[in-house]
């Protein structure tokens, strides 16, 4: 009778001794990325694989999940279920998602492949390889889900071309390029911990609950389906941090520095999500501030309490981010209101009902600072003087968002924050202490940033005039601007029978 093996032991035996100990080639050559960041690993075997998921079990579970997911996707398309959305303007959230988020899933796929090659311990190696292939799943299922929307709405027709070029998409792209250009331990601290563990709920919950609230069952389904992968990824994020800190005391300050940096970097990217959440969803399940309070202040607060025994503390400038929670979405939306003619999604002034919702959710800030500005813009629109900023903004050298964040934590929320650093005799501008710290720590890295506005001035973006640039982005005239009066709005009305078919035909042809 064969001896019984529990899951843990069985998994251990199946992967027993697979880690490679080179003898014909130098270990530093075979695993060339493992030491240059200064992280010290004394014993990879101390890494306990938290999932113990064998390849065959993985295939089985994932195939079952995808069978269900694609069944929903197919029936969604077949039934033209986009007609069940709360409103056509909801689709703008998906535009932001396919342009800004799906390409990051792909980047993560490739980044984790590097870790799966470069980590010499088989436990972490296999975990990274699983995450790598999961991330490919996420990119591809998102492309397939949103493919149906692309057939019926504008702005989603060329997302990967856009991601490599468009000014506001350089915010998420540069964030991921930042992690990907770093060594493997910084990459995993950035993506698995700072992003997947600490902040992922602030990306996925807003998008997925927004989808649920607005009748987008296709997106809800891929969101939920990805969730079971995400929980593995979050576990990896936490395990790797604990493992690295336990391996050697010299690792602690390095890891803390990366947590500080990538927290701030990711937080700035999430500014786009805050706008989506508070201003772009027709029906809003929760405000950015509410999400921040639950997922960051409470959950991450508890997390860092637990991590205190490892010597880790809350990320630097977290209190600034918390103070900004009452301002962030309004400021980011304000920036986009100025430049929406140069974007591939639509926004517009909030309705009165939405303004009241914002007043209720932001009692300390909305009526005081942001409602008056919106009312002024509404007035201007009524007079036929819709305000667009036709100049090019100054971008933060680090997060690449146009300068528009204010001195909230200095109690001066109407004063735009500017920070300046000097490097090699040149001045570099940043939007906050968080971004300035990041720049000052590695100026030689951030001077390389592909800043869209600089690139336009240097003639690298298709020309000097806005139409040339938009053409180079592959934007079409109907992709941007206000939702009110947009091609998507006209089509939506036609689809819902609120306008004559003739109108819808002319818009379809436009």
């Amino acid at each position: 009778m064969a001896k019984k093996l529990n899951m843990r032991k069985r998994y251990e035996l199946l992967t027993r001794g697979l880690g490679w100990e080179p003898t014909y080639q130098a270990k530093e050559k075979v695993f060339s990325n493992e030491s240059y960041e200064g992280i010290k690993i004394t014993d990879w075997s101390k890494w306990e694989d938290p999932f113990r998921l064998t390849a065959d079990a993985y295939w089985k579970y994932q195939a079952e999940k995808d069978k269900k997911l694609y069944a929903v996707m197919d029936s969604f398309a077949q039934n033209n279920a986009h007609l069940n959305l709360s409103d056509g303007s909801y689709v703008n959230a998906l535009k932001l998602f396919i342009q800004g988020v799906s390409p990051l899933e792909y980047q993560a796929h490739r980044g984790f492949a590097r870790l799966a090659r470069q980590f010499s311990g088989e436990g972490a190696q296999i975990a990274c390889q699983m995450q790598s292939i999961d991330e490919l799943r996420h990119a591809q299922t998102q492309i397939h889900t949103i493919s149906h929307y692309n057939k019926h709405f504008n702005g989603m027709h060329d997302p990967f071309h856009m991601h490599d070029r468009v000014w506001y998409l350089s915010v998420p792209k540069s964030y991921f390029d930042d992690a990907k250009s770093a060594g493997p331990f910084e990459f995993i601290t950035s993506v698995s911990f700072a992003f997947e563990y600490v902040l992922t709920n602030l990306l996925f919950v807003p998008f997925m609950s927004g989808a649920a609230f607005n009748g987008d069952m296709a997106t809800v389904t891929f969101g939920f389906s990805a969730q079971s992968d995400e929980s593995r990824h979050m576990t990896l994020g936490l395990e790797i941090i604990k493992f690295l800190v336990e391996q050697h005391e010299d690792n602690l300050p390095i890891i803390q520095g990366w947590i500080d940096k990538h927290f701030w970097r990711a937080y700035r990217v999430l500014g786009l999500v805050s706008m989506m959440q508070d201003y772009m969803l027709p029906e809003s399940p929760m405000s950015w501030k509410e999400a921040w309070d639950i997922y960051f202040v409470e959950n991450s607060g508890a997390l860092f309490n637990d991590l205190a025994r490892y010597g880790l503390r809350m990320p630097k400038h977290h209190e600034v981010a918390t103070a900004e929670a009452e301002h962030l979405s309004h400021q980011v939306w304000g920036i986009f209101y100025n430049y929406i003619h140069a974007a591939a999604f639509n926004i517009g002034l909030p309705t009165e009902a939405k303004m009241n919702w914002l007043s209720e959710k932001y009692p300390n800030t909305f009526d005081k600072y942001y409602r008056p500005r919106i009312e002024m813009w509404r007035e201007m629109e009524a007079q036929g003087k819709r305000f667009f900023n036709m100049g090019l903004p100054q971008l933060c050298q680090v997060c690449q968002i146009p300068m528009g964040f204010t001195e909230v934590s200095k109690n001066d929320p109407m004063q735009i924050a500017y920070r300046v650093s000097e490097f090699n005799g040149e001045k570099f501008h940043t939007c906050s202490d968080g971004c300035k710290d990041i720049f000052d720590h590695e100026p030689e890295k951030y001077v390389h940033a592909w800043l869209p506005v600089h690139q336009i001035f240097q003639g690298n973006c298709g020309g000097a005039e806005i139409p040339d640039i938009l053409n180079w982005y592959h934007f079409k005239p109907e992709d941007g601007g206000d939702y009110k009066g947009s091609a998507d709005e006209a089509r939506w009305k036609a689809m819902k029978g609120e306008a004559s078919p003739a109108t819808s035909q002319s818009n379809a042809a436009a």
Binding site: L14, R16, Y24, V30, D66, N80, A116, R117, S504
Partner: protein, 332 residues
């Protein structure tokens, strides 16, 4: 759900994403495979130099000497995107699960002659380390390679290797009734037995190759092209004839996997060689180099199962491989 909306009102604006339409046309609907792979990889305007490779951009076609006008000229004949891949493997793993259950339940290994099982222990089980090394090589291709049609396939291939390493481990556990003696002995043999050293040495040398396409050739074309037919076709057939037939049930995944793998490696070689005489020459040069390197390594391990017929067996699989490559435009 039924909707009474006039069809013309929900007529789509377009059928495809523009980046797909540029490849398949505006009016021809793309397959799920095409949507999943074409042009998803970033190509330009990278922000920072990679600290781990300061000579190149984050994604950079010049990490190999192979030159393609369009890195999406090659497409996977299996058309694997993630879901198609896991769906195919889920079916195969179900069969494998049944096989393991059957072999275990009926104690089918019991009546296999001890000398046959010894060869399994000595030859088959150490291959789990080869699979692990092959996984590292494929993760490397996924990391540094160019174009989603190639890199995603390397990701799947690497994942398969972990699966196969685990299946081999399960065979070892089955042989030992869940004790780890064979696993430990196989690792020891892999690390120290002279028979395995030429192969282990060659693998380590493949790990440090700068050109990822050369890794592709060394690992997925030459090494697999010799090892799989040698072990899973020839040696296992021999062992089956000597009373080890139930073993065939436990390696079914590997034999099917190799038949499937040959389909895309053939296509990749064909498309790459047809692109230019320079590419064809490189493929030919790499193939020759790794054939010369791996032939003695294979003969060494073949000696365990084939004795003095080892060289002859390796020669035969080599000939098959050379013929296959020639058909696809790679002269050796």
């Amino acid at each position: 759900m039924s909707l009474s909306i006039a069809a013309k009102e929900i007529k789509p604006l377009r059928i495809n994403y523009a980046h797909i339409a540029r490849r398949v046309g505006e009016n021809k609907p793309a397959t799920r495979y095409q949507e999943a792979v074409y042009d998803v990889q970033p190509t330009t305007n990278f922000h920072y130099p990679a600290t781990w490779d300061t000579e190149h951009q984050l994604f950079d076609a010049s990490r190999t000497a192979i030159k393609m006008k369009d890195w999406y000229s090659f497409t996977d004949p299996r058309q694997y995107y993630y879901t198609a891949y896991v769906t195919a493997r889920a079916k195969q793993q179900e069969l494998m699960e049944n096989s393991f259950e059957m072999v275990e339940k009926h104690n089918l290994l019991q009546n296999i002659p001890a000398e046959v099982l010894d060869i399994v222990r000595q030859t088959l089980i150490p291959l789990r380390h080869v699979e692990y090394g092959a996984n590292l090589n494929n993760q490397d291709i996924c990391d540094r390679g160019y174009g989603v049609t190639i890199t995603s396939l390397a990701s799947f291939n690497g994942f398969d290797r972990i699966g196969m390493a685990q299946y081999l481990s399960r065979i070892a556990l089955l042989l030992d009734e869940n004790e780890e003696d064979t696993l430990v002995a196989a690792r020891e043999a892999w690390l120290t037995n002279p028979v395995w050293q030429p192969l282990r040495h060659a693998m380590e040398d493949s790990f440090v190759l700068a050109d990822w396409f050369e890794i592709m050739v060394a690992q997925n074309v030459v090494m697999d092209g010799l090892l799989y037919p040698l072990i899973y076709e020839r040696l296992m057939a021999k062992l089956a004839a000597q009373g080890g037939a139930p073993l065939l049930m436990l390696i079914q995944f590997m034999t099917e996997w190799y038949d499937e793998t040959v389909r895309w490696t053939n296509q990749l070689m064909k498309v790459t060689a047809a692109e230019s005489p320079e590419n064809a020459a490189l493929l030919s040069q790499w193939t020759q180099h790794w054939l010369a390197r791996l032939e003695p390594a294979m003969t060494s391990i073949a000696s365990l199962g084939f004795g003095d017929q080892a060289a002859e067996q390796v020669m035969a699989v080599k000939q098959d491989l050379v013929t296959r490559l020639a058909k696809n435009g790679v002269k050796v």
